[in-house]
Symmetry: C2
Subunit: 196 residues, 2 copies
DNA sequence: CAACATACGGAACGATGTTCCGCTTATCAA
DNA sequence: TTGATAAGCGGAACATCGTTCCGTATGTTG
């Protein structure tokens, strides 16, 4: 919420230049490391890649979740905004819901281990829920509600559990077992949503 | 396959008495520890509870998966045998499939962390696949095939991916979030299986 | 009972997360 | 420009956990 650099009401104490530089370096290094080694990449590796000490990571991003949130912030935001857009442009609310879930699956399957982290329930990933889940759930809920109002789906399914389920289905998709296609299983789930 | 104590063809060298005693103690301790702390309980804790050294665990159960397999062997076997039984006693193959999946969910949700381990893909859990997955997949496949032959479900879904998906849906059920009911999501998935 | 192989215990090692503190350096007022 | 101050930094140090290894203890057998 706060922490934006507008010096409106708060004292807005600008951070030191090297601190900002390191934060940026950390973000870049983490983004690269996440791609190559997944979001569970050892802290030391990220620190080394960024050319800083491990202490510096913990100062800027107290938990791993904080770092993940910072790295993927923009993509989550894009997903959030795609919700209403799809609802407006699709032929039916159910179609919009299906398309949006597809977008979410796109996001998840390209970030190795992210889905797992999101469902882990580990208290260390609290801020992940705060910034990702809690942000996306309302969007999903809105799509769900619209489809429900149109009589296209069975009632009683909430945004949280649908997102959670989709996340779970994508959790095991990282291990390259050709017999498992996360997207197809998500399709099955979404098909099951239909009233009939 | 082998390792049964019939001295038929193999030399059948009986194990030392203390070795058998320790194996039993380990199994009991692990079963108890799995219930209270999940299947990820530290090796040292199990060793301590069984009153043995850590080396003894690794001698009897080289990987954690071996221990898990040994502890849950019977329950998996019961699940395997329930497949044909349900197929014979249910009104339709689809009903049998749904009931069997329900049984499988029962098994998973009561073993904290087991579902996660099963989907982890970690090579350390190789023997879990060998003894659990590979055992259950054919049963699931048989039910799937029967329902398919009866025209009750859409084609193209394999036993492995259905089981894997169900396992995934149950993976995140351990964290007591009241908003997520794994069984309901599995129901949704199974409903999505219907041809329409 | 003695000799031997089996099995045991737990110290030791490596990987990883996390904390802590002495040192460095950016910032700013004089 | 320069000196004081505090924000920020690096990485050693500690804790946890999985895994290995080997000297020792003990069941088994002749």
């Amino acid at each position: 919420m706060a922490d934006l650099e507008d010096g409106s009401t708060s004292p807005a104490p600008r951070k030191r230049a090297d601190a900002r530089r390191n934060e940026k370096a950390l973000l870049d290094a983490a983004a690269a490391a996440f791609v190559t080694s997944g979001v569970d990449v050892p802290v030391r590796d990220i620190a080394a890649k960024a050319g800083v000490g491990v202490g510096t990571i913990y100062r800027h991003f107290p938990t791993r979740a904080d770092l993940i949130v910072a790295v993927y912030q923009h993509q989550v935001e894009a997903c959030v905004q795609a919700g209403p857009a799809l609802l407006a442009s699709s032929s039916t609310p159910y179609a919009a819901l299906a398309a949006w879930i597809d977008l979410f699956v796109d996001f998840l399957v390209t970030k190795h281990g992210l889905a797992k982290a999101m469902q882990s329930g580990d208290s260390a990933y609290q801020s992940l829920h705060g910034s990702f889940i809690d942000r996306l759930v309302p969007v999903c809920g809105q799509l769900l509600e619209a489809a429900g109002a149109a009589g296209e789906i069975r009632p009683g399914i909430g945004g949280f559990e649908l997102m959670f389920a989709v996340g779970n289905l994508c959790s095991g998709a990282d291990y390259g077992d050709a017999r498992y296609d996360a997207r197809r299983m998500v399709d099955l789930l979404v098909a099951g949503l239909r009233a009939g």
